[in-house]
């Protein structure tokens, strides 16, 4: 008797919890501001703990990273040594340009969107879940960051701000399935949309006419269209493969992002659109 009463009460509790959870999901889907506010507070409260945790774990993660990537690091080291000796040869022929480019890249003095005001920030967290492609940066509304602002690194487009609290912002990476950006092929001039693909580190470039001449290795930049959500000319990716099938209206184009998301440490949030409308 006591057992069945206990079991019955347990089931009642579960039903109540399930109904409560469904109610919360429904409220969030409808865009209730209260839930966003609570999330924002939670992130701000977690921020100092996060900073302390990063100070402790960054040597550990570097060590861990070194172990798990030992094989690729060796290969990459050999490749970089070869590239370095080639670069030394190029430097002799064009020393001033090579030195200036290296200095600019190191200081994140962007060669694109140079006239757009920006906020420098540091990546403090990866995605908290296995089904998100996001990073968290250490700047928020207190520093002028707002939802929708583009985020870039020295190599190109990283993503856009999707959530922001006082001291933190969440950036949706361009490899996320929910990310899309108007894109321009620099050589052919074709315009399409670059979309993230779930579970992959590549992007797809859609709406490119089947007759367009697209080359492997061609650089893709932001087109600056689709309502001006991104400034034009920000490097996004390179074409990694092009497939055409008879009868198709568009080509199947895969893009390799220019940014190495596994090594992202410093980024810039572009204050876009600018208040001057630029």
């Amino acid at each position: 008797m006591a057992v069945s009463r206990r079991a019955s009460r347990g089931r009642s509790v579960v039903v109540l919890l399930v109904l409560t959870a469904i109610t919360l999901i429904t409220l969030d889907q409808r865009g209730t501001g209260t839930i966003d506010t609570v999330r924002s507070w939670a992130r701000d409260i977690k921020a100092p703990i996060e900073d302390a945790a990063n100070n402790v774990t960054s040597p550990v993660s570097d060590w861990f990273d070194g172990i798990t990537r030992a094989g690729s690091l060796k290969h990459e080291n050999a490749t970089l040594r070869k590239q370095l000796s080639q670069a030394r040869g190029d430097e002799a022929r064009n020393r001033n340009a090579a030195r200036e480019n290296k200095r600019l890249t190191k200081l994140l003095h962007l060669s694109f969107a140079a006239d757009v005001p920006s906020i420098a920030s540091r990546v403090v967290d990866g995605a908290p879940s296995n089904f998100e492609n996001t990073i968290v940066i250490d700047r928020g509304t207190a520093h002028g960051v707002a939802k929708g602002m583009p985020v870039v690194s020295g190599d190109g487009l990283v993503g856009r701000v999707t959530e922001v609290s006082k001291d933190r912002a969440t950036v949706l990476l361009l490899t996320d399935r929910e990310f899309g950006v108007g894109a321009l092929l620099q050589d052919s001039g074709e315009i399409g949309v670059a979309n993230g693909i779930a579970g992959r580190k590549t992007l797809s470039l859609d709406f490119i006419d089947a007759a367009a001449k697209v080359k492997k290795g061609e650089t893709v930049v932001t087109s600056g269209r689709e309502g001006g959500r991104f400034p034009p000319g920000i490097p996004i990716a390179r074409v990694s493969s092009v497939q055409k099938h008879a009868g198709d209206l568009q080509q199947s184009i895969a893009l390799a992002p220019l940014v190495d998301f596994d090594r992202l440490e410093f980024v810039k949030v572009l204050r876009w659109p600018t208040t001057s409308g630029g």
């Binding site: 999330r39 945790a53 774990t57």
Partner: protein, 168 residues
Amino acid sequence: MIRRIRLVLLVITTVLLQTSVLSNLKVAGVVPDVVLLGVLGVAYRSGPETGAIFGFAAGLTLDLFLRTPFGLSALAFSLTGFLLGVLQASILRTSKWMIPILGGVGCLVGNLLFRGFGTLVGEEPLLSGHSIRVILVTVACDAVLAPVMFLFAGWAAGEGATPRSRVG
């Protein structure tokens, strides 16, 4: 009272561990589900009702830091905690392999519920190649971590608490 404080500490610790520490120490690109493991540990020690309530609270706390709909983790973890508690009550004999198996199976169920309900509200499809790969790798990691997390959860659930068995 002490038990409730411990359970609150368990929620806070596991959420901070998952969102601030382990998110930077991924294994094969995935983050272990330490919050879900905590729920499973509490359910294993304290039964289905406590497992469901703790799962709801832990899931809701985790939802504060995720982009998925608020309440989705609470729903999945609450049901998973309840189911594990019911399953555990029917186990007559335990062995040393029971905890890693329960940890792995529990996390599989939790992830399937999370992705399944998530698909209903427009998240990534449950049966996509990416989802399946992530779930499988996560289950393997969680099975390895389960003995440690169950120990911690057992402490939080109450010193001397033993897994509830079916009253005959």
